[in-house]
């Protein structure tokens, strides 16, 4: 049976309800929460600050260091806390997705640390993480070319859908599920794409266009969250 209706009744080009909020970690230089439905990510930014070990310092620019971690209670089976093969990979991926958007030439020999924590996982955690990190970086006053928005596109059998959840990720019928996570800088330039499954190049192009459209909406939500943080202060 083809995938004609989504499990949670969403439209094919509809994301889960998005919540975004900045300033959630008072001790950080910048922080943000970003949620796609039940997937909740919290990002905190520290720096620019002195980089240790010293041999990692770059005298021409500051560097970005991202640390992605799932909290032990974020999934139904407890996961062992601390770095794993998966979280190390996602840390690096998130770093690359954000690196082309930030401008750290003014801060040589320094590091900007981003800590992404997944509080609740229901698939697309790396996308929620990148969105939260981009918000937190802006909130921390790090110079950026543009905000980065990230979304996952799924191919359930032959149907392309936006923002996959866990149920869809595990879809087995027909051609099965393909999960494509992608990030856009300012909803224009692609900074990261990952593919897990099978897809034709024609469909991939289509998926990228869908992702771009979804990211436009996400960036609007991110902008709103940042501006709201200012208004609350002014009340």
């Amino acid at each position: 049976m083809a995938y004609t209706k989504r499990f949670d009744g969403r439209k094919f080009d509809e994301t889960r309800p998005i919540t975004a909020k900045v300033g959630v970690v008072p001790n950080a230089d910048g922080s943000a929460m970003f949620a796609f439905g039940n997937t909740i990510a919290i990002a905190s930014v520290y720096g620019p600050r002195q980089l240790h070990p010293q041999h990692m310092q770059n005298p021409s620019t500051g560097i970005l260091r991202v640390n992605y971690n799932m909290m032990s209670f974020s999934v139904s089976d407890r996961i062992r806390p601390g770095p794993s093969k998966r979280s190390t990979e996602i840390s690096k991926i998130s770093e690359w997705a954000l690196n082309s958007a930030i401008l750290l030439e003014e801060y040589p020999n320094t590091v900007v640390d981003v800590h992404i924590m997944i509080q609740q996982a229901d698939a697309s955690t790396r996308c929620a993480g990148i969105n939260a990190a981009s918000l937190a970086l802006a909130h921390a006053g790090v110079p950026m070319k543009d905000l980065v928005a990230s979304v996952s596109i799924g191919k359930m059998d032959k149907q392309l859908v936006i923002d996959v959840n866990k149920e869809e990720e595990d879809y087995k019928e027909g051609e099965g599920a393909t999960d494509i996570a992608m990030s856009f800088m300012g909803a224009k330039k692609l900074t990261h794409i990952q593919l897990d499954g099978k897809i034709s190049s024609k469909e991939l192009k289509e998926a990228t266009e869908m992702g771009k459209k979804a990211c436009e909406k996400i960036i609007e939500i991110q902008k709103k969250a940042l501006k709201e943080a200012m208004e609350i202060k002014n009340d």
Binding site: A138, A140, G141, P143, M144, L147
Partner: protein
């Protein structure tokens, strides 16, 4: 005394204080036209695009973004408040709330110091006000060779975001003068966000602290001076 030196760098920020200011986020187009891009912005074709999260400040043709958050970026000539972290044979290693390490050499202290007992002048944990003498790759050099700089004795130290310092000082030092006069305290504001408050009693110091936090939280409300005045009057009645 020290306040005068600080404020001069920041007067230009206040020329257009009364104007309604727009909040921008990175990547947002601020304005399209033949304006010039200033700090925190870039020009792409005709559009001036924000590169930081902050408030737009348009001064004739120059458009810039005033950041609301971020760490302290030390510049030569800044007057700062620091804390002694360690003592070496020729000076003090200090914490001035910046990414780089900072050092205050004995040679930059314009008074006699016993070389074998540096802790008699500044001990670990002491606070002092100093001037940034230079920012180099290996660190920041400090100096006490200016009027009004030196060890800060008594009083309390509070910390605010360094980007809020110009608001706390106010136009031509008006805001800080208001707080100083009505709480009867002496206040030194460091560009790095550390503030030293010294009054005759702790109560006065705490009122001044509350007032400064009030300013830094509500730093972009229009007519802030009146609100602070009101706030201080309320505190006095308590």
């Amino acid at each position: 005394m020290k306040i005068e030196e600080i404020k001069e760098n920041d007067i230009e920020d206040f020329k257009s204080e009364e104007k309604e200011r727009k909040v921008v986020v990175p990547g947002e187009i601020i304005i399209s036209g033949d304006e010039l891009p200033g700090e925190g912005t870039r020009k792409d074709g005709k559009d001036i695009i924000a590169q930081r999260f902050g408030l737009v400040d348009k001064n004739e043709k120059l458009v810039k973004v005033i950041p609301l958050s971020g760490v302290f970026i030390p510049r030569r000539g800044n007057v700062i408040i620091g804390k002694v972290e360690d003592i070496s044979f020729n000076g003090w290693l200090t914490n001035i709330n910046s990414a780089q390490s900072s050092f205050l050499p004995v040679s930059e202290v314009p008074r006699f110091i016993d070389k074998h007992h540096l802790d008699e002048f500044l001990d670990i944990g002491d606070f002092f006000s100093a001037k940034i003498n230079g920012v180099k790759a290996k660190g920041i050099d400090l100096s006490l060779d200016s009027r009004g700089l030196g060890k800060l004795e008594g009083g309390i130290i509070i910390s605010i975001n360094p980007n809020k310092v110009p608001r706390v000082i106010g136009r031509n030092g008006s805001m800080i003068k208001l707080i100083k006069d009505s709480t009867n305290t002496r206040i030194t504001v460091g560009q790095n966000g550390f503030i030293w408050i010294r009054g005759d009693n702790v109560e006065d110091e705490l009122v001044a602290k509350k007032a400064i936090n009030f300013v830094s939280e509500k730093s972009f409300v229009s007519g802030l001076t009146e609100k602070v005045e009101e706030f201080l009057n309320q505190e006095k009645e308590k």
